[in-house]
């Protein structure tokens, strides 16, 4: 009765094997590495860059243990920190000829030294939370109502243009909060305006509200469109943050959406919060200025003559100098959107900019006065400006809709609009949570967590072995397997391990032993009541199972509640807690039974089992 069919043993072996494989990466530790990433938003890493890095390392006589390219960065792993530093120097010399204008960021990093065969199985170590590795954590709240207000602002401009084009004579368009209000003198005009707006902007919900003699239309974004708008705002903010954080040269920043309107930013290893916040919170990295078309400036542009007073010299993408005036006409704050598009007649790729009301007004005035001249859109990164584009103004541009065209491929238009978008935040953000953890504190926390688990584990194992003898040993092995599986599952999920997570691990082990105690006590009880050893084992496991299931489910309910409603560190705790309960069901019941069956089940004439003193009443 106490025998497992072969498939059950096979299952146990397979699970154990998987457990070992996925737990292994956590033991390899980290080895020094050099990471090369793009230092400019205009520069993308590609395979030729990888080859170049390889060549540089080869010529410096350095042999990285591994070199990888993940789309955003190239990482080369070394065995010693000495090699790592040499490699960093070599790469810096080769890739960054001019230290003032670094096109690449070469940073020191630590990479998991998991061997290739494990990595190819997608086995990777758990990610350590900030409280264990040190760094800064920000939680930012995006002001969504501001994003919607911004949208309404640009819509009111669009509606104005639309009504003018259609020849509908309204008596005023204004933005009231997130609603655009259109006034009309008579019902006919109101009706015509309503139809025109509804046709042109299907995202808008237009309602007519008669107020006295006037007819008023209120246009609001439909809920679906509003939530789309918010989503887009959040995405843009995240990509803007990405660009800004690139400046910090952080090895592995985490920038994630949390909930509907929050962004988590974690910068491991960064200690200077003030600088980090300064960079994150910066607005307007985009500026629109006029190009100086005077002969002196033209001369300076060609390279003969100094830059005239009141002008500045910037380079464009092709490293051609452009002399622009110092006066800033518009900043990225006035830019609500930038999208790639096509010219309606020539089918040429274009970049379409949308400006807010203030921006549109300024832009109209500027373009009216400067037809035939060039205006430069400059993106600032690390305090250095680069001219993204310097188009010629063909005519006065009103309404805040700007189309930049000419000599672009569709790909360039897409890149350019992305760049322009990243120059500004779609909606303002506010830091609502911030944490800095020093690197020594992180290391201490790891040691503390490790000691908590290991000492507790040891005492339990010693006690179980003394109290339940063979069954105690089996329980202890099961507990060890539980820990193994727990770590394996967490590694598979690539969960972030935090100190509360380690506490949950300790607690999970402390609770998991409950199942084994229940079983062992039950077996003892059966023996006490005079059952034969084999029957006692069978009945013990059988009867304990119902209780184990009930008690684990109630604990799981608490864990799930924490998972659903908890935030931050509580979530980390809850994940480990829940997984711990599930793995304990496998290890404490299924696996330990397997061991017992292997040890006792095969013996036909079993006289007694070693489960400690069974006191006979």
């Amino acid at each position: 009765m106490n025998r497992y069919p072969a498939w059950k043993y096979a299952l146990i072996l397979v699970v154990l094997l998987i457990g070992v494989v996925y737990t292994l990466p956590n033991f390899f530790g980290e080895s020094p590495a050099v990471q090369v990433s793009s230092g400019k938003a205009t520069l993308k890493l590609d395979t030729p860059t990888l080859q170049r890095v390889e060549e540089v390392l080869k010529s410096a006589d350095l042999k990285p243990t591994a070199i990888s390219f993940d789309g955003n960065s190239i990482k080369a792993r070394f065995t010693t920190t000495d090699e790592q530093l040499k490699a960093k120097d070599a790469l810096q010399r080769a890739l960054i000829p001019n230290a003032d204008e670094p096109s690449y960021i070469v940073a020191l990093n630590l990479l998991s030294s998991t061997p290739q065969w494990l990595t190819s199985l997608h086995a990777a170590p758990m990610y350590l939370g900030l409280d264990l590795r040190g760094g800064v954590h920000f939680l930012m709240q995006v002001d969504m109502s501001a994003a919607l207000t911004k949208k309404a602002e640009s819509l009111s401009g669009d509606i104005r243009t639309l009504l003018r084009e259609k020849g509908i004579r309204h008596s005023g368009i204004s933005r009231n909060g997130q609603t655009v209000e259109v006034n009309a003198r008579d019902a006919q005009t109101a009706e015509a305006a309503k139809n025109a707006i509804s046709d042109a902007f299907p995202d808008l919900n237009v309602v007519q509200t008669p107020t006295g003699a006037e007819f008023k239309l209120s246009a609001t974004l439909k809920p679906i469109a509003a939530s789309k708008e918010q989503e887009a705002a959040l995405k843009q903010n995240i990509s803007t943050l990405h660009n800004r954080i690139n400046e910090l040269g952080v090895a592995e920043p985490v920038i994630q959406q949390q909930g509907l309107d929050r962004i988590v930013v974690q910068l491991p290893g960064v200690q200077d919060t003030a600088k980090a916040k300064d960079i994150l919170g910066r607005t307007a990295t985009l500026e629109i200025r006029m190009v100086d078309e005077s002969p002196e400036a033209r001369g300076a542009e060609r390279g003969d003559g100094a830059v005239p007073f009141g002008d500045e010299r910037f380079l464009d993408k092709n490293s051609q100098p452009v002399i622009v005036k110092k006066q800033v006409l518009l900043t990225g704050d006035n830019l609500t959107d930038a999208q790639p598009g096509f010219e309606s007649q020539t089918q040429e790729p274009t970049v379409n900019l949308t400006l807010d009301a203030k921006g549109a007004r300024i832009f109209r005035d500027v373009t009216r006065d400067n037809v035939g001249k060039r205006m430069a859109i400059i993106l600032f990164e690390k305090g250095k400006g680069e001219v993204v584009t310097a188009p010629v103004i063909r005519s006065e541009i009103g309404g805040g809709r700007v189309q930049i065209s000419g000599r672009m491929t569709a790909m360039e238009a897409t890149d350019e609009s992305l760049l322009l978008r990243s120059g500004s935040l779609a909606a303002p953000m506010e830091i609502i949570e911030e944490q800095t953890i020093g690197p020594t504190l992180g290391a201490e926390n790891i040691a503390k967590g490790f000691h908590s688990v290991s000492w507790g584990f040891m005492v339990i194992v010693i006690f179980m072995c003394l109290y339940y003898l063979v069954f105690g040993v089996i329980s202890s092995v099961s507990l060890g397997v539980n820990l193994l599986l727990l770590v394996a599952v967490l590694s598979m999920l690539q969960a972030t391990l935090t100190l509360p997570g380690i506490a949950a691990m300790a607690l999970a082990l402390g609770m998991a032993i409950d199942s084994n105690v229940l079983i062992n006590e039950r077996v003892r009880e059966e023996l006490r009541q005079g059952a034969a050893p084999q029957t006692a084992i069978h009945a013990g496991y059988d009867r304990a199972w119902a209780t184990i299931l009930d008690s684990n489910i109630t604990t799981l309910i608490a864990g799930l509640a924490l998972l659903a409603f908890g935030s931050g560190s509580v979530r980390g705790f809850a994940v480990v807690h829940c997984i711990g309960i599930l793995t304990s069901m496998f290890s404490a019941v299924f696996f330990s039974r397997g061991l017992v069956n292997l040890w006792y089940g095969t013996r036909k004439k079993l006289k007694s089992v070693r489960i400690g003193t069974v006191w006979m009443g």
Binding site: Q435, V517, A558
Partner: protein, 320 residues
């Protein structure tokens, strides 16, 4: 080895009234302290800034407090954090001042103290929480508590019977209130981790009650001669050794956290310790007693087989 040699069932239920009175008194005391003293909520709930700083030599708290208060903060708390060299400085939320400025200012002020040259200060960690986050945490915490209570009650009502569900929840909520009472009385810091511990304890000690209820159900089936009180006594007696050993093991782990886990896990482990101790008490003495007062009967749990042999049913034994 065998710790528990119990010859006869211990008549726990004879003293049920006394136990319940003890519970009630502790419970009321806990509620009293919760209201009179309130919880010492951590910065996660209240919003504000917490800085951990380390000195190279032991430092006078008073001097640090004065230096920080001189910056114009009304409600500054400075406490030792583990050792005499480590300090925790808590600052309230100030509108319009960013945290980076706050912590920079504080560190600058501390470095400006006359003895700063011999005893330099370093910033170990800062934590800032905006006021809006705190409200959400309270809301989330209450929701989680509600979910746990409801979830466990539904499950127990489904697996056992509503009387057991009520008994288990009452008994274990009383644990929760008592833990909170301890935190209120000693003014220990109630952080997010402690909240997690409290909810984990709720799940854990219900699990304890479930083990006893399971045994009660089984006894109702097997030991048909015994009355309800005897059934409960027998159930508690026969599970007591498992109860003590399990809780002992869990407590060993928690103790290990308390000893080695450092300040961060200190209150977490403390909440668990209280929870485990009162968990045993409430499951053994309170939950079963409440179930008894609610009038659990054999018929409540074993409806199916009972109906088959109902002697009053004229159709008994008839099968279609």
């Amino acid at each position: 080895m065998e710790f528990f040699k119990i010859k006869k069932d211990i008549p726990f239920m004879r003293h049920a009234l006394a136990f319940n009175v003890v519970s009630l008194v502790t419970f009321l005391l806990a509620v009293f302290f919760l209201f009179s003293r309130g919880l010492h909520l951590s910065v996660e709930f209240t919003g504000g800034t917490v800085m951990h700083v380390t000195y190279s030599q032991p430092v006078e708290i008073e001097g640090v407090r004065n230096a920080v208060t001189a910056l114009g903060y009304n409600d500054v708390q400075v406490q030792n954090f583990g050792t005499a060299r480590d300090l925790t400085i808590r600052l309230p939320v100030v509108k319009g001042v960013s945290t980076a400025q706050q912590s920079d200012k504080v560190i600058a002020a501390l470095n400006a103290l006359p003895d700063a040259a011999q005893n330099p200060v370093t910033l170990r960690s800062t934590e800032f929480v905006g006021p809006q986050v705190g409200d959400e945490l309270v809301e989330g915490g209450l929701k989680a508590l509600g979910f746990v209570v409801l979830g466990i009650m539904v499950y127990l009502a489904f697996r056992f019977e509503w009387k057991f569900a009520v008994a288990a929840i009452v008994a274990n909520l009383h644990d929760v209130v008592i833990i909170l009472g301890f935190f209120a009385f000693f003014q220990w810091e109630f952080s997010l981790a402690v909240l997690a511990a409290v909810l984990a304890v709720l799940g854990y000690s219900v699990n304890e009650s479930v083990v006893i209820f399971d045994r009660i159900r089984e006894n109702f089936r097997r030991l048909r001669k015994l009355n309800t009180v005897q059934v409960i006594d027998n159930a508690i007696t026969s599970t007591i050794s498992r109860t003590i050993i399990t809780h002992g093991c869990t407590q060993v782990m928690v103790l290990s956290m308390l000893l080695f886990g450092g300040e961060t896990l200190h209150y977490f482990a403390l909440a668990l310790t209280i929870g485990i101790c009162f968990g045993i008490y409430s499951s053994v003495f309170v939950a079963a007693a409440i179930a008894m007062w609610l009038g659990i009967k054999r018929e409540d749990l074993i409806k199916g087989p009972k109906r088959d042999i109902d002697p009053n049913d004229p159709n008994s034994g008839a099968v279609v």
